[in-house]
């Protein structure tokens, strides 16, 4: 049953109100035919009696009241899926944009998907080596985790994301992997950067790209991550691949959502974002994970830029409440030339605890990272004190902590874009840096590991 109406009564922002309809369903796919002959896609956002409110993905410019025809297609928004997708470039709704042929779908799936039954989940605990010490050593990532990059405009989050894509591997595991890359509102240049990097590393042929660029319709960004995730679910849970999903920039996605909410005149929540932003973001992020008995997995690295560098802004705040940790980039560190500028104290991986240790990384890993954190935090406190009172106010031990924090940033964190460290190198470097302290300061580490790895070097060595 396909029904077509020419009864648009109003157009407001990205929304079109159609009257006199019957049999329309919530979330139904809609095709709008403009007087120009152009065709657009939309979706039913609300239906009441004979009135349907439709959001138009490609925007409403050119849509008029008397002549635009609206067809209700009696199904949700679908994307065609096929094992041929890696290596191809699509738009945010899954149509090829690389000039290549249409794909021949093995099947179609609704981009909204369905929630994974928590009973069906497998707990993610397989260590992924990214080669980046601040991640592997301190905020370890595992297969099936959603670990976002919290960044800000002008910071090198794209470089870090590309480095992770390039270097990520599961030591000892030989199995197929794929990358699904969803771009929402990033510039052409940024997209090119990723494509070039993927091409150079040879990842491109295993990558599916869904691109919605900065000058393309904003409302399509509501669909882009869902299309990308539907493809990822197919590759992971039906084709058995380990899929790494990179979504950038989630801030643009959230802004599209806010635009719709404002057009609907909903009661705005914080900073004008709708009260259901948390629920909406969960419906994306929670599609990540592992499923019992399935060989594949979805690991997700969403990237977002924090408006005004503010971590308490609703976008990073709600993201942090949903994702399994966050890697935070710092402008201050970037200015000091630390690359990658990962601010490790507020960064976190919630899934590291079961992904590290004997048989995964190394038995001393948990105690070691706890100790590094404690020492670095104390070193940063000493640094603050020094700024206020001068170094004369510091005790001898405080000065060691200060020195440690400095070395830690310079050697452990600032490894640069090209260095790919094994986890053993990362762990050993941690011990080397701790050698500045006497054993009695290292209370977070049990005796066995101190005996094995700790060699106090004290203040000596390189000298002041």
């Amino acid at each position: 049953m396909i029904r077509e109406y020419q009864t648009v009564v109003s157009v407001a922002g990205p929304l079109v109100l159609v009257e006199g309809v019957s049999g329309v369903k919530y979330q139904e796919l809609v095709r709008l035919s403009l007087p120009s002959g152009e065709s657009r896609r939309g979706q039913v956002l609300e239906v009441e009696g004979d009135r349907a409110l439709v959001q138009v993905f490609e925007g409403t410019s050119g849509i008029d009241v008397p002549e635009t025809k609206v067809r209700f297609l009696a199904r949700g928004i679908m994307v065609g899926l096929s094992p041929e997708m890696p290596g191809r470039v699509f738009d945010g709704l899954g149509r090829p944009r690389d000039g290549g042929p249409e794909i021949i779908p093995e099947r179609e799936a609704d981009i909204y998907g369905a929630p994974i039954n928590p009973y069906a989940r497998e707990y993610p605990d397989e260590f992924i080596q990214t080669g980046v010490s601040a991640i592997d050593g301190l905020n370890t990532m595992v297969r099936g985790q959603k670990l976002p990059l919290f960044s800000a405009s002008g910071l090198p989050h794209n470089r870090l994301a590309a480095q992770v894509v390039r270097q990520a591997q599961v030591p000892g595991a030989e199995s197929g992997f794929a990358v699904v890359f969803g771009a929402m509102g990033i510039t052409y240049e940024e997209a090119e950067y990723f494509i070039r990097d993927f091409t150079e590393s040879g990842a491109l042929e295993r990558t599916v790209l869904f691109l919605n660029l900065a000058d393309e319709p904003a409302i399509e960004r509501i669909a882009t991550p869902r299309t990308a995730l539907t493809c990822a679910e197919y590759l992971a849970f039906e084709q058995g691949l380990h899929v790494l999903v990179v979504l950038t920039d989630m801030t643009n996605y959230c802004e599209a959502l806010r635009e719709i909410s404002a057009a609907r005149k909903e009661i705005p929540g914080r900073r004008g974002f709708p009260g259901y932003l948390y629920t909406d973001l969960s419906s994306l992020y929670e599609r990540c994970g592992r499923i019992k008995g399935k060989p594949g997995s979805i690991t997700m690295m969403p990237v977002l830029t924090m408006p005004e560098d503010d971590k308490t802004h609703p976008i990073p705040d709600l993201t942090g409440y949903i994702t399994e940790g966050q890697i935070i980039l710092s402008r201050a560190m970037h200015r000091r030339g630390i690359a990658p500028p990962i601010d490790v104290l507020p960064s976190l991986s919630r899934l590291k605890d079961k992904g590290i240790g004997e048989g995964k990384t190394r038995a001393d890993h948990a105690d070691l990272f706890n100790q590094l954190y404690a020492c670095y935090a104390r070193g940063k406190e000493a640094e603050e004190l020094e700024v206020i009172l001068g170094s004369a106010a510091l005790s001898e031990m405080d000065r060691r902590y200060l020195r440690f924090a400095h070395d830690f940033e310079k050697r452990y964190i600032a490894q640069g874009e090209q260095e790919n460290r094994s986890v053993t190198e990362t762990l050993d470097l941690g011990w080397e840096l701790l050698a500045i302290f006497p054993r009695s300061e290292l209370k977070r580490v049990r005796d066995a590991w101190l005996d094995k790895y700790h060699k106090e070097r004290g203040q000596g060595g390189e000298g002041e």
């Binding site: 609300e46 009441e48 994974i116 928590p118 009260g275 948390y278 969960s282 971590k311 899934l351 009172l389």
Partner: protein
């Protein structure tokens, strides 16, 4: 659920997200359950105007539209209560997630009906009463062994009273009659399972003042901010500050007899974690797997938002049911903010007048009603000998305020009703000082009432040691202020000692690693030993200072490290280990004028 054909069919007129409006709903009552659309999606009436009903739907509403049918069940949203609850893993409206997976696969599809309890399983019913006995609401009729840890008391449902005509003994399913009661309105057949509407608290005789601690094995909680059996506590904090880990620790190690864990609008993997871990972890008291005393309710963030709203009610009703059997029950709700947000989302769609931050005006009263369901009580019914029974229900709720800001309306509404406040600080979490409970901002209003019980459980000094330790931590905060202004050099030797000891309190006592096999749980006895060792050091060092010993020397003593390692000694080693440390303190601080 009754599928009475005569129940009139309503018609959908509007769909907006989880909210559906239907007409022709004559006879519908508030909070009645209805079935929406041809797929029979589960919904609940949440507002009525004439024959027009607003319905919150517990499943995704994509594909629903005007003209779709709505069927009334004429029953409020209820849970099924009976043997088989323990060890279950339910969604927010008590659908067993394992059965859903068996039926529909790895993803949650819609319109599936699976009974909450196993209908085929036979339970060995042991009567506790005999024919001719007078029985009333809540009275224990008989018992089944639900798990090795839980004797499930089969109770007379509320509202039923009279003389037992017949009572069975032997193997029965929950649908079979185990007793017949002659009531004023005729004979009633009783089965092992009963239903109860989740939004209505289950009745009890009266409340009692909480006077026993719920021991958690978490040092900062037990020693400084204890919660009582039947008490209420909240854990607010920004993301990553440790709310969920505290709730998990509570579910694992607290000495409640029954645990109900509600994952309300949070991560799927966190529930999977509990589900996989609890069958393997052993209860320190009984040595049995923790799962044998636990019920899990999971409505994760990506599951339908209306069912999230219902999940905390589902959970607390299950908890009350075990309280009625005379158990000490504890429920963890992680996170109550997601429940409040679900309320806000539905309220927004209903176009209700918003209060603070868009939350409905009834937010505070809903929060208060929820925590009021906690308490130490005299149960409604009596045990086999006609004696009154005592049960307790303790509630711990996490709160997730935006940006960690405690002015959030959910935090404020919660603080007005709960008695314990564990305040999490991100500054501590950044240093990986866990649990990141602020010792300066947190409080427990039970400290006084629990004093006697704590002395009994630990030792005489424990309570006074804890008070002294807290004094030192407060002093530390003042001294830090001074150091920040004028530097360390201005401190007296006594002040420097205070700083040293306060650091030891923080690092060696308050800091507790949930992922360390020994450190994760500390008995009251061991807590007392640890605290005592630190304070012994303080007192003797003070005396040594008075005798003229140099503070710089004291700050270097080897025993400091030994004190720091006490936490890693097992419960068996602790006593001897602490004695050795005390000796070393004596030795290293004895005499020593120089």
């Amino acid at each position: 659920m009754s599928s009475d054909k005569s129940s009139q069919s309503g018609l959908v007129v509007k769909v907006s997200g989880p909210l559906v409006v239907a007409e022709k709903m004559s006879g519908a009552k508030m909070y009645d359950v209805v079935r929406v659309g041809t797929q029979n999606l589960l919904g609940e009436v949440i507002s009525l105007a004439g024959e027009r009903a607003s319905i919150q739907v517990y499943e995704e509403t994509g594909g629903i539209g005007p003209g779709d049918p709505v069927t009334q069940t004429r029953e409020p949203l209820s849970v099924e209560l009976g043997p088989g609850l323990i060890g279950s893993f339910y969604d927010g409206v008590q659908r067993p997630l394992d059965a859903l997976q068996a039926e529909a696969g790895d993803f949650i599809t819609r319109g599936i009906d699976v009974p909450a309890l196993d209908r085929k399983k036979r339970w060995e019913f042991k009567p506790l009463r005999k024919a001719g006995d007078k029985v009333g609401p809540g009275d224990w009729l008989g018992e089944v062994e639900e798990t090795v840890l839980v004797r499930h008391r089969v109770m007379v449902p509320p509202g039923v009273e009279g003389e037992l005509v017949r009572i069975e003994s032997g193997g029965f399913t929950i649908d079979e009659t185990v007793a017949v009661v002659k009531t004023e309105s005729g004979e009633r057949e009783l089965k092992m399972a009963q239903r109860w509407p989740v939004r209505r608290p289950r009745p009890h005789r009266r409340k009692l003042p909480p006077d026993e601690p719920l021991v958690t094995g978490q040092r900062i909680i037990d020693a400084f901010f204890p919660i009582a059996r039947g008490g209420t506590a909240c854990v607010p904090g920004p993301f990553g500050s440790g709310k969920t880990v505290i709730q998990h620790q509570f579910a694992k190690w607290s000495d409640a007899e029954i645990i109900v864990f509600v994952g309300c609008g949070e991560r799927g993997n966190e529930m999977t974690d509990v589900l996989l871990e609890f069958p393997k972890l052993l209860d320190p008291k009984s040595g049995e797997p923790l799962m044998k005393r636990t019920v899990l309710v999971a409505n994760t963030s990506n599951m339908p938002v209306a069912a999230r709203e219902a999940s905390v009610y589902t959970g607390i009703t299950l908890a009350e049911y075990y309280r009625d059997m005379g158990y000490s029950v504890a429920i963890q709700a992680d996170s109550t903010s997601r429940w409040a947000e679900a309320m806000r989302e539905i309220s927004g769609r209903l176009e209700e007048m918003p209060g603070e931050e868009g939350y409905p005006a009834y937010l505070a009263s809903r929060v208060a009603e929820f925590y009021e369901r906690a308490g130490r009580v005299v149960c409604l019914g009596t045990g086999p000998d006609g004696k009154e029974q005592e049960g307790a229900l303790s509630v711990v709720g996490s709160v997730s305020p935006p940006g960690g800001d405690l002015n959030d309306p959910v935090v404020q509404a919660t603080l007005r009703v709960v008695k314990v406040f564990w305040s999490l600080e991100d500054r501590l979490a950044f240093q990986r000082h866990f649990p990141a409970i602020s010792w300066l901002n947190s409080y427990s209003l039970y400290s006084e009432t629990l004093r006697a019980a704590l002395v009994r459980l630990a030792d005489e000094e424990f309570v006074s040691d804890a008070a002294e330790a807290m004094g030192l931590l407060e002093k530390e905060a003042e001294l830090e202020e001074i150091v920040r202004l004028v530097g360390r050099d201005s401190l007296s030797a006594g002040d420097r000692l205070v700083l040293e000891v306060a650091r030891s309190l923080r690092e060696d006592f308050l800091h507790q690693n949930a992922f360390h096999e020994v450190d994760t749980y500390t008995s009251m006895k061991k807590q007392a030993l640890m605290l005592d060792a630190i304070l012994q050091f303080y007192r003797q060092a003070r005396a040594a200072l008075d005798r003229g010993r140099d503070i710089a020397d004291i700050e270097q003593l080897a025993v400091r490290e030994r004190i720091g390692r006490l936490k890693y000694l097992t419960e068996e080693e602790a006593e001897a280990g602490a004695a050795r440390v005390r000796e070393e303190i004596e030795q290293q601080l004895a005499g020593g004028e120089k």
